[in-house]
């Protein structure tokens, strides 16, 4: 089975500096493989090992997503090879644009049976890109996937949905987005990190891919910093637990919170 893992090289907005105007400065936020995407790497590796197949990493974005560090970070996590589309035009691209480029890359890779993705990215956090990708490809796209195994001619997929666990028989090709806790991803060892340098990386040129033009554009009219995010705390010293508890209960009564 030929499996593509779509993963994102993204900054953690926790480390962003947000001005009172709502302007976001991400320059201090170091990018990394998005927090839950290693779950997709691990699911892909296990499935490929069970079926005899190949795992191809795929990421798209601005030029900063393709560095020696970013390549190694992905390739040390159980991939066989990597495909990257990095272009200034994709800096700050919306999710549908990203999905459209991912779809073109999946077609360029060719004969793909399955695309696996993470639950949601650490920065955008919409859980939307894999499902839009499925839409572009015309394939079935399922999120909330907690387990996947191969069966004759297709896949058996377990989903963790609000109504309970659901099992679905899915023919390939398909796009599946994993839950955050579907499997525990392996930790890259020294051997994986050294091995990563020898694995092939293919850079696809955005201009050479068959990507249709967007049907709408977004214009930011105004930005603001949301209320309620920052509060000034009255701090009590808990080294005397009973004293701190009494002080806190008093303060909460006074604030009308009890």
């Amino acid at each position: 089975m030929k499996i593509v893992v779509a993963y994102k090289w993204a900054p953690n907005p926790q480390d962003a500096v947000v001005a009172t105007t709502g302007e976001v400065d991400l320059s201090r936020a170091k990018p990394a493989v998005s927090e839950y995407d290693p779950v997709a790497f691990e699911l892909a590796r296990r499935l490929a090992d069970a079926t005899g197949g190949e795992v191809v990493g795929l990421t798209v974005g601005g030029p900063s997503i393709d560095t020696p560090l970013s390549r190694k970070a992905a390739l040390s996590r159980g991939l066989d090879r990597l495909v990257v589309v990095a272009d200034a035009e994709l800096e700050d691209a919306d999710g549908t644009r990203i999905a459209t480029v991912l779809a073109a890359a999946v077609r360029a890779i060719g004969d793909v049976d399955l695309v696996l993705a993470g639950d949601s990215s650490i920065d955008v956090a919409q859980g939307q890109v894999p499902l839009t990708l499925a839409g572009v490809l015309g394939w079935l796209g399922l999120a909330a996937v907690s387990a996947v195994t191969a069966a004759d001619g297709g896949l058996v997929v377990e989903r963790s949905l609000p109504g309970g666990t659901t099992v679905v028989a899915v023919p390939t090709p398909a796009v599946l987005a994993a839950t955050a806790d579907a499997v525990v991803p392996r930790v890259a060892g020294m051997k994986d990190i050294l091995g990563a340098a020898k694995k092939p990386v293919e850079v696809l040129d955005l201009a050479a891919l068959d990507v249709p033009a967007p049907g709408a554009t977004l214009a930011t009219l105004a930005t603001a910093k949301p209320a309620g995010g920052e509060r000034t705390a009255t701090i009590f010293d808990g080294s005397s637990p009973a004293g701190a508890a009494a002080q806190l209960v008093g303060a909460l009564r006074q604030a009308g919170a009890l």
Binding site: G22, T132, A143, A222, R231, L252, A255
Partner: protein, 307 residues
Amino acid sequence: MNSAQSWIVVADDTAASGLVDLARSVGDEVVAVVAGRREVASSLASAVDRVLWLGEPDQAPVEAYGPAVAAVVAQATPRTVIGATSPGGRALLGAVAAALRVPVLAGVSALEADGDQVVVTRSVLGGIAEHRTAVQGGTTVVAVDPGGAVAGDGDLAPLEELAVTPLAATVTEVRPAAVAGADLGGARTVVGVGRGLKAREDVALVSDLAAALGGELACSRPLAEGVDWLPKERYIGISGQHIAPDLYLALGISGQLQHMVGVRGAKVIVAVNSDKNAPVFSQCDFGVVGDMYEVVPALTAALGTGS
């Protein structure tokens, strides 16, 4: 583009009031396209102007209707399309967005129509900033929380049944969830616990405090996923519940933004954390720097004695 129309795409869920309300705010005519059971389509008939029903899904998952929903919506090209943030809702929206080649916006708090253009107020990057964004040149597609069950005006729109073929996929088994959903949304007081908790048995420590406060128990994501010490319905944050109680206590929770965005609306936030530099202390009203294993029982006791 059809400026008078707002469409909602419904993924087999009778809880769609959030979609209907938002659609009404920007459209004179609201059209629902329903991928799901007849009862879901019927429940919408008195709340919207037209209901397009794609037929009984039998064993097909709702996601199998993505291409069919996209084709119907693309033909009408309404000014606005609204769907749910649930897995099925996002799949239908993804198919629509792909067909129209337009973005899907989430975290939406308001829509304003202005001719062919729609202005969206939404939170971005996990809630650290708020944007007013104009969608220009194409349909505005948004994902919102589905809300509760739909209340209609009694005027029934007839179901228009469309014959479509879903993608091949079969639901072979459903194992219903054992635990009932918790009503965190309605609780005045919520006690949240995080990875400061060392063992499953210690949940009792926190539930005792919740009982003393007459509040509901909640948690950060790692306690509900990864280790399942508390049910998934009880975790708070960007991918869990959003709550706005009078009082929220964050016990052994570091205060990562993905968690805190879920309690931004709380009137009073209390944090207990052993690390005085934990980010939660800049996002709370009262903080206790200390070991929750000592502070929490002391707090329970202090409440019990009414001191």
